[in-house]
């Protein structure tokens, strides 16, 4: 341990209000990102991953997105109650975000360099000339020649655009980088380049990263800690060793069984049956019970406790520990 907590999320509950229903997107999430570490937040579509990232930055869609309870602590301040003006100072400065789709994250009619310089000017006491110089340095840092400052997004390939977005996010030396599926839209060889880049830059600027992904392979290659999220709840949480070597929640195990593996041959995949529950109408007890091969009657009635299997390795399952290994 020893490392300080940079970001702490406590008992976060977020809902979206629609005309005819309430969508329970995040249901009591606790998370910690330590200084200098990468935390992988793993889950499928609709699990609430992006909602958590947006809540940290307070960029939930308004007025539908509502934080019902909980707190987010960053460097001693509670972000949810922070004045909007103070929040604006943090955004893009101390906390930056890389979005999934680089094709839509950039302004198509502004030169890429200017887009980076804009962020720098906003948060630093610099002249325009200095900001331009810094933007060029940032481009060089992510492997794009500084002379391409004057080009427009359409002149870049997908991988290059994502580099530009990363350069922009890191331009103000953030303490925390929220990376929301940063490589999902990219080809594997480009993905490898971008992940390496994020890892290297993290070391260089001493930032922490919250990496949101659905790809366990990406997590294995980049994260020190892992949180598995299902239907708005963290179902398993621990160090990368704990979660990968001893996956203990049935959902985590199901995820591992669902992916075809390259370094072993299995005759057949074992998919998780069924679908994620409807977020407007969540089950009372364990939200995974319906799809779980171990579920007993109590699982459907009781809210499962957080069981600590060993220090730092938590599993939200009634049968954790008693189910026997695998």
């Amino acid at each position: 341990m020893g490392k300080q907590n940079l970001l702490e999320i406590k008992d976060l509950v977020v809902e979206y209000q629609t005309d005819d229903a309430i969508i329970h997107a995040v249901n009591g999430v606790d998370l910690v990102v330590k200084e200098g570490e990468t935390l992988g937040l793993v889950g499928e579509t609709g699990a609430g991953k992006t909602t958590i990232a947006r809540t940290i930055l307070r960029i939930l869609p308004k007025p539908q997105g509502i934080v019902r309870q909980g707190g987010i602590f960053f460097e001693g301040a509670e972000l949810l109650s922070l004045h909007e003006k103070a929040m604006r100072k943090l955004r893009g400065n101390k906390i930056a975000m890389v979005f999934q789709d680089p094709m839509t994250a950039l302004n198509p009619i502004e030169r890429v360099g200017d887009q980076i310089a804009e962020a720098i000017l906003l948060h630093n006491n610099m002249t325009k000339g200095e900001a331009i110089k810094r933007a060029q340095e940032m481009l060089e840092m992510v492997g794009i020649p500084g002379m391409r400052y004057v080009e427009y997004p359409h002149q870049f390939s997908g991988g290059m655009k994502q580099r530009v977005v990363i350069a922009m996010a890191l331009a103000c030396n953030p303490k925390l980088l929220l990376a929301d599926e940063p490589t999902t839209a990219l080809d594997v060889t480009i993905q490898a380049q971008v992940l390496r880049l994020i890892n290297d830059l993290k070391e260089k600027v001493k930032a922490s990263v919250l990496l949101i992904t659905h790809d366990l392979g990406v997590v294995a290659n980049t994260c020190q800690s892992v949180a598995v999220i299902y239907a708005g709840e963290i179902v398993e949480y621990g160090t990368a060793e704990q979660v990968f070597l001893n996956p203990s929640h049935p959902y985590t195990q199901g995820l591992f069984d669902s992916i075809p593996k390259l370094n072993s041959t299995e005759p057949r995949l074992k998919p998780i049956p069924g679908l994620m529950p409807d977020p407007t109408n969540l089950p009372v007890g364990c939200k995974f019970a319906e799809r779980c091969r171990y579920a007993i009657e109590e699982c459907k009635q009781q809210i499962p406790p957080n069981v600590e299997l060993e220090p730092g390795h938590q599993v939200k399952c009634l049968l954790a520990g008693s189910r026997g290994e695998k």
Partner: protein
């Protein structure tokens, strides 16, 4: 076993403002009936174009396509209509490939009505049977695509493709838009269907772990050309082409004990417009020499293992 599909020196070029774009350039392969041929490569390598060309959704520029022993490169209208029953496609995106204004049953039964000769009752029965085959509950009979999740939508696409009892299906990234737990369900369904109906698939994907799981044979494509072609296991245990090596090493393995030996390739795919005659991977290849500026041929390096690289033997110490 007999060859169901074969191409000889197939080329598909597109005219652009800056010259000819070589989307598929001189591709030859044979696909046996009942087998699954995986087609992998990164965006822009021509894998989808190849899939569409063999289905005549795109017209080939040169070369030949044979189906069931017959030359179908330039089919007549009635031949094409017959081929459409036998050859089907499952698309990548179940969100945009379905008509939002058609219900599940209407979507699945449409091919039966068009190609048919069946009466209303028979169509209804067949549609029900198809829904059962792909695992769609009957309560979705009148549902519309927007009411369903991605996995179920993809099942509609599969049921529709199966409606006319095809022998050959092009699966163009059928699971890329799906979550992993659903992806496994669909992959297993496709494998079961092949078993039951002796189907032949051309399976297009950029996901190498998926292609390894499902394919009997794999072709790796780069900028319109096949760079390596062999049996699935052989490709992964004995990767020979420098591009395939880099591609395979770039896949993140979901196992923290596995230390990846990334073979970095710098830069990105070059332009497919009026490419130089030599090896197309040359500019990114760590082994490139003068010899690579000459046109490359696909050569059988090991039994049933074809590689298009003049330095292949040297690099792999064969």
């Amino acid at each position: 076993m007999s060859t169901l599909l074969e191409t000889k020196n197939l080329k598909v070029y597109f005219k652009t403002g800056r010259g000819m774009l070589h989307a598929v350039d001189d591709v030859s392969f044979k696909l046996e009936e009942g087998k699954i041929l995986g087609l992998v490569g990164e965006s822009g390598c021509g894998k989808s174009t190849l899939g569409r060309a063999v289905l005549h959704l795109l017209e080939p520029t040169a070369g030949q396509i044979f189906y069931d022993g017959k030359d179908i490169t330039y089919p007549t209208r009635s031949e094409l209509r017959k081929l459409r029953r036998e050859m089907q496609i499952i698309f990548q995106d179940p969100y945009s490939s379905l008509n939002p204004r058609m219900s599940v049953s209407a979507t699945i039964s449409e091919p039966l009505k068009l190609h048919g000769g069946l009466d209303k009752k028979e169509i209804e029965e067949r549609t029900k049977a198809l829904m059962e085959t792909v695992g769609l509950a009957e309560r979705f009979w009148g549902a519309y695509p927007h009411e369903l999740d991605g996995g179920r939508r993809q099942r509609i696409g599969i049921a529709r493709a199966l409606a006319l009892n095809p022998r050959f299906i092009v699966c163009d990234e059928p699971v890329s838009a799906l979550d992993v737990s659903i992806q496994a369900q669909i992959l297993n369904l496709l494998l079961d269907l092949r078993e039951q109906r002796n189907l032949t698939y051309m399976f297009i994907t950029h996901d190498l772990s998926v292609v390894k799981y499902i394919s009997d044979e794999i072709m790796v494509m780069y900028l319109g050309q096949v760079v390596e072609k062999t049996i699935s296991d052989e490709l992964f245990s004995n990767t020979l082409h420098p591009y395939s090596k880099a591609l395979l090493s770039a896949i993140p393995i979901p196992d923290i004990r596995f230390k990846s030996q990334l073979i970095p390739i710098e830069g990105e795919i070059t332009s497919p417009i009026e490419p130089e005659p030599g090896c197309r991977f040359m500019v990114r290849c760590p082994y490139a020499t003068e010899a690579c500026t000459q046109p490359q041929v696909l050569e059988e390096i090991r039994p049933n293992h074809f590689v298009s690289c003049c330095r292949c033997r040297e690099i792999n110490h064969l």
